[in-house]
């Protein structure tokens, strides 16, 4: 029924060349068809993302637990949060993570991409090798580095062979060393990903700019700073935001490196780990976990808004 009506209108309109361009699209004003196309996708998106988000908002102002529907408690959860040492630790760790990882993610892959793009026939080989860690699960990556960074692992063995250290370095047991080890693992995993994005951006830089720089006597470093960096500036902004959002959300690496404990006394908890701990299990305080989720959403939202503002400023 709907279909036949819409076919008739479309035929009628298509016969009038003057309005053709608009008419082809204007065939379903009241039809059911577009909604049938949308049904599976929209159902999942609404039920699994938007409704849960609304529920998180509601939860965060209650004292719900997993087994009991809580009551409205106003801003209690948020007040308690800032007195909760584990929350402040997690916030500090995730923030520190972002601050340390992002500059590495913005700069190192760009240097690598510049080197790789000039590697001639080997470009493909290097690109594949360096992308490999990206397709690996954080659990596998975490396990590999757990054995490598262990007290008796490869890194410590190499160190003591070179007589660089007197005692094994406690990469996985010291609070700060563990956090930095996890950052290293994150950078190790992400390098290839951002490098491939940079490679695409580098291909768009006008080659004649490099020739002009060379004519003016610029060396490799100089032309990198004067031509490459300005040429990929918008990509740098994009990667800064992508990697900062990803770094703030870190979970897998820290979870596996600490064996799921969050470090000695929970000193290496991150925001996502805290949400996972508070919100699951039989003791779960879902209201409190919801409030932490909301704080995390606000922080991530601020990072995204910063990106939009920067992009708008640049394009205007």
């Amino acid at each position: 029924m709907t279909l036949s009506v819409q076919r008739r209108t479309s035929l009628k309109r298509a016969a009038r060349p003057a309005r053709r361009a608009g008419s082809v699209l204007a065939t379903h004003r009241w039809g059911l068809t577009p909604w049938l196309f949308l049904l599976p996708g929209l159902t999942v998106i609404v039920l699994m993302v938007l409704v849960p988000f609304a529920n998180t908002l509601g939860l965060s102002f209650t004292d719900s637990t997993l087994l009991r529907q809580g009551e409205f408690v106003g801003w209690d959860n948020f007040r308690r949060m800032f007195a909760d040492e584990r929350f402040t630790t997690a916030l500090l760790n995730s923030t520190l993570y972002t601050v340390c990882v992002v500059p590495c993610m913005v700069v190192l892959p760009l240097v690598l991409a510049t080197l790789v793009s000039s590697a001639g026939r080997l470009t493909g080989f290097f690109r594949t090798t360096m992308y490999l860690p990206v397709v690996m699960s954080p659990v596998v990556v975490g396990l590999i580095w757990t054995t490598t960074l262990d007290k008796r692992g490869l890194v410590n063995a190499l160190f003591s062979t070179l007589d660089a250290v007197a005692e094994p370095v406690p990469f996985l047991t010291d609070r700060w060393l563990l956090l930095f080890s996890a950052m290293f693992v994150t950078v190790w995993t992400g390098l290839g990903y951002y490098m491939v994005i940079y490679l695409a951006a580098l291909a768009n830089i006008d080659q004649s700019l490099y020739d002009a720089a060379a004519m003016d006597g610029a060396g490799a470093v100089r032309s990198f700073l004067a031509v490459t960096v300005p040429g990929v500036r918008s990509t740098m902004t994009l990667i800064a935001v992508l990697s900062s959002v990803a770094a703030f959300r870190v979970f897998g690496e820290v979870y596996v490196l600490t064996g799921g404990t969050g470090g000695v006394g929970g000193g290496d908890l991150t925001m996502t780990m805290l949400i996972q701990r508070e919100g699951t299990g039989l003791q779960a305080r879902t209201g409190y976990a919801g409030a932490i989720s909301l704080v995390m959403f606000v922080i991530l939202g601020a990072l995204l808004l910063a990106q939009l503002a920067l992009q708008r400023k640049r394009s205007s």
Partner: protein, 289 residues
């Protein structure tokens, strides 16, 4: 890349000459390749080392003296890895089918059809894109729990069954198609479904492949969500099951290494075969989506 030279050289001449600069460049690249691939090679070496072989020699030895496949057998014997593999495959298959069908259909409606509410539907997808999964984790868990899907593989697949990002990717792909073919099909009396299947979908196969591959890898590697949803060991996916390697085999890194190699083999093979789609997805779709 840029060298100061008195006169332009041909590409061939440039390639043959080895300057200190290019030697340094290759050295750095080689070091990076070793740093990135090295730990993997070391794992492989560990997993092959014989049971009596000393692991903690100084300097460390890369080549096993008594290579053996025993550790792989031991891991398979003590941890039901094939079971985990099948579970991961089942979840990934659901994610791939869900995203390919759901995102393609929805993307077509948003990109090629005009109807009341299209703006609202697009806005819903954009809004969902802005919600990071961690922030709805607990509420998603409560939803899945309320519907009785906790501890099922479908419960694991459900939240990413159709990702908003993929819907928007497909929308852009359909939007960028030229309209002539579609118009001709309308004149010939084809309805929306026929145009969708016969005219539009064949033109966006490349983007569909990218969506499928990223849905597969994303689902295969996901850890946090299955960790929360699954409680019964029978239903563990590979990542959750592997997480137990560390506890179970803490004493013997050879077994942990063998476990990681077993887990890595399928995804590395998958990547090796389909790598051009990975790079295409990043360069074109992933960036603009």
């Amino acid at each position: 890349m840029v060298r100061v030279c008195p006169r332009p050289r041909t590409a061939a001449a440039r390639r043959r000459r080895v300057t200190p600069g290019s030697a340094a460049r290759y050295l750095v690249l080689l070091l990076m390749a070793v740093l990135l691939a090295g730990p993997l090679v070391w794992q492989l070496s560990l997993s092959l080392k014989g049971a009596g072989e000393p692991l903690y020699t100084q300097p460390p030895k890369l080549i096993p003296e008594h290579p053996t496949f025993d550790h792989f057998a031991t891991v398979l014997d003590r941890i039901p890895v094939p079971r985990y593999l099948l579970n991961s495959l089942a979840v990934a298959a659901m994610a791939v089918v869900g995203n390919v069908v759901g995102a393609t259909c929805a993307g077509y409606a948003l990109g090629k059809l005009r109807f009341r509410g299209r703006g609202v539907a697009t806005a819903i997808c954009v809004a969902a894109l802005l919600v990071p999964s961690e922030t709805v984790l607990i509420a998603q868990f409560l939803t899945v729990r309320a519907t009785g899907l906790v501890n099922t593989l479908f419960g694991v697949a459900l939240p990413t069954l159709v990702a908003a990002l993929n819907v928007l990717l497909m929308r852009n792909a359909f939007r960028n198609l030229p309209g002539e073919l579609e118009e001709a099909a309308i004149v010939d009396g084809a309805n929306a479904w026929q145009r969708f299947i016969r005219i539009s979908v064949p033109q966006v196969k490349g983007v569909i492949a990218v969506v499928a591959i990223f849905a597969f890898v994303g689902s295969w590697n996901d850890f946090l969500w299955p960790l929360i949803v699954l409680s019964d060991e029978q239903n563990y996916t590979l990542t959750v099951g592997l997480n137990r390697l560390r506890g179970t085999f803490y004493e013997d890194p050879r077994l942990i290494a063998a476990g990681t190699i077993i887990a890595l083999a399928p995804i590395v093979a998958f990547f090796a075969v389909l790598q051009r789609y990975f790079f295409r997805g990043l360069e074109a779709g992933g960036l603009k989506g």
